[in-house]
Symmetry: C6
Subunit: 201 residues, 6 copies
């Protein structure tokens, strides 16, 4: 059973794909909202994130703050409750823009109360208007998703040519969705809303 | 079809021109306003912007804050809602004052709800009183605009002599407007207001 | 008599395990809340903590702020009263994510008024959703716990294989609990609530 | 026609004199106030200003905040509306205390609605009590003013001996006023108030 | 007559012991509270204090903020009035955790209005729960206290073995109290409350 | 006529003595308060002051905030109006604790409306309780005071032995007051209150 099943069992966690010095790897983006009773506001970013990755988190938040109402997300929570985004493992430095879709998805999952599908991994830079921009390391990332037992991967449309580099045996066992707008990511990654869904963070 | 058509289809995005280590390039300045319901205020700047480019953003904002009412823009939004200015790609460092006109235009587009004309690219430093000051790299920038399928370029008046360096074949296919006040930029770059125009960010 | 008896006699202190340049060591995480009358709010972290360890404290706080109500802890105190987390000795630099469980436990002890069991030591990274992630230095840490007269150790489940490296003679005198959720840590580490328990910090 | 005519046509812009690596130069200090409707407060300083020049701006502001009422300036605006001081060109680093008089004059022009006389250039450090202290580069600065078509220069009284170094042919075409108090600067540099004058920034 | 008599004649000053490059020395920790009328709040630390020593001040303040009411100190003053802790001489850098007891004592003296006994010097790290932890340089510190004419020294209990290194002739003229809780320090160091005692800072 | 006459003609300016690389020098500490109407609060320090000298300013302010009421100074102004302390010349870096008495005197002059006597120069570190601590460079400072035409110098009592190094011819023309409490400094340096004295800054 892939680790992602356990990790994404609660709303607010999305499975991303990263390139490390020695290949690709799966990473989990975790998001939480402070209990309103704590009166704690603001944004907290942890996981030894570099400058570019911290900016990705700000872009994800601004995207939801400006477009969230259209997406029927309770955006008011984004000011009244502290938002914390964490990317384990805590001691490993991480950087780059390609976790943009994963951060946006973790936040949308948290706000909507809809968990992220456990078989889905994703990678892609997000622009402020929600466009999904291309990223690097497609081959390593898909190999890592495959190794981790994930079966669906969301990839930027402009990375389509990079699929040529991925071994056929791996591609055969993965469903790859090419996306150009982050709304497509959310539609593919979030489990359907249930009547009992609520913000559980 | 040029990429700028897709990118500038919503208000708040303007097409700029930059010089990189290996020639000229097109860049998009994106601006968004947080939903009033989020209660989020302040200014957020992302895209690995250098000191000078961050100051350009502050100048664009101050210009609109002091002159925006004359321009019939809803300047009250500039304090009640967080403004985010982002320049993709997220991992590429950018600097210099020549995105001043592009930033001012993206913000005016956002506030007015009038999209930026998709065939228009622009470059120029803006002073606090709205004067358009000269910039470098005119030749590379016009070649880049041409390559990207853009047909209209707004250039500082004091850069007129630099047009001599641009190949005739390129100039012939571009409409170049020489501007000295940022109000001229806005007049040329923004699509006409329509009765249904509204702040969509 | 182990030092931990004296140190953990009041709520808000938990015994952790660390790796130093020359082996393992016991460390105490101390937490206090400012008297409401002082009007002092915010978070204070001392003990020459490195970046990663400061982030562990933020994760511990966010975990309690988002899940504390489920755990029946008075989370409102986390905004109305300054929280101070200190790790003596004051002049020794400390870093790393493995004090996550110890910080969470010290805070939960403080909020619940339930002291930490004096015979219990612990180590483990905590994720934002409360999962206990593996750490390094298991052998040195268990030897240190044993040397200090502690008899129970809480260890991340994913560190189970590392127990092979620990001498039988030491393991025989320790009760090791393998944990995967920080709620298990709190259940094992905190003394039962008594009718007279109250926040004493 | 000198550039200063165009630049100083609105209140809030004053013409200064600087020394660069290769001689003297004219610089323009621009000041603006945010529209009250924007609710934006504070002070913004741009133009790649060094530490000493930023302190000059603070001194100019404090001088007006403590003495402005005597000068019949609407000092209340200095707290209710954001003040932005910018010195183009945006990419050129600038430092030193000698723009003190120019900054004070630009701010007083903005607050009073009285434009700065377009034929006047100035240089001088200002102390917190409004005294004009001596500066360097008198010769280069006067040559630059002359080259730029300016006809009146305001100079610190204690720089009088440095006029010996300035070529007679240049001095003959310049009116030099030696000043020791910044109030003298304002009297000489600002155009008379007109009945229609108002804060236009 | 020892200097400490003059220095500790007002509440808020305590005599500490430090190790310098060339032996031990006496230092004075001074604390003051802003007049309520000034409306000035917060904490100010001066005396070129290093990171560890600044943390000692935060620990002393948090100790009093969480336990001060038990000690019958007016802890409300700690939020309504600015607290300033200064350690002369102003130009000499100082660091380390051993002024913890001295800082706590100076603050308790200030809050209680009870001056510190002029014949008492002290040294010791303080933990957040008020435990007195061992420090270095016992021999040099006791020699310095003796040289300065002080007759009583408060020392951490865990430093008892270090007394062996102190010359008999010096120990004979000093009363050394071994302490393990900062409450013992306060009991030994503060002069009795008098009916006229009041916060004089 | 000494420059100090002109400089200290308004309340808020005091004459200090400094040591530079090439001897002693006179410096002027200027203080101003923002007009209440500006709503500007806080503390501004300029003049390229080093860390130690900035701390001297904080100590001077805290001394007045805690003892100012005893001295019959309107300490309420210290929170309602921005305080700016500047030490010309603006481009010259300055550091060290010996301007403590001069800063305290400039502030007390400003608050009381009593100008500083123009013939008085001073030097000395101030502690938080108002004690005047010894400084260096006595010989150079007294020579500088003499050269500048000043006739009275206030010196820390503990610097008395350093007077031996000052040439008899200079000492004969100076009145030197040895002081140990900053209240003595204020008594000697401030001109008597007049019925018309008022805060003029
Ligand atoms: Ca970086
Ligand atoms: Ca799931
Ligand atoms: Ca830079
Ligand atoms: Ca368009
Ligand atoms: Ca680090
Ligand atoms: Ca216990
Ligand atoms: Ca500098
Ligand atoms: Ca003019
Ligand atoms: Ca340090
Ligand atoms: Ca005493
Ligand atoms: Ca320093
Ligand atoms: Ca005078």
């Amino acid at each position: 059973k892939p680790e992602s099943g356990e990790r994404t069992s609660v709303p607010g966690v999305a499975t991303g794909l990263a390139v490390t010095g020695i290949g690709g790897d799966v990473l989990f983006v975790e998001a939480s909202l402070a209990d309103k009773e704590t009166g704690h506001t603001g944004v907290t970013l942890t996981g030894q994130l570099g400058d570019v990755m911290k900016e990705s988190a700000q872009i994800a938040l601004s995207y939801l703050r400006s477009r969230g109402a259209e997406l029927e997300l309770p955006v008011g929570d984004l000011s009244e409750r502290n938002i914390h985004i964490h990317v384990p493992a805590g001691a490993v430095p991480k950087d780059g823009p390609s976790a943009g879709v994963t951060m946006t998805t973790a936040l949308a999952s948290l706000l909507s109360g809809r968990p992220v599908r456990s078989e889905v991994a994703m990678t892609g830079e997000v622009s402020l208007t929600g466009r999904v921009l291309p990223i690097g390391g497609v081959k390593q990332k898909l190999l890592a998703a495959h190794r981790a037992g994930l079966t669906t991967v969301l990839l930027p449309k402009r990375n389509e040519p990079d699929l040529e580099d991925v071994p056929e045996t791996v591609l055969k066992e993965l469903t790859v969705h090419l996306v150009s707008d982050v709304r497509d990511v959310l539609g593919l990654a979030l489990e359907p809303a249930t009547s009992t869904a609520a913000i559980a963070a």
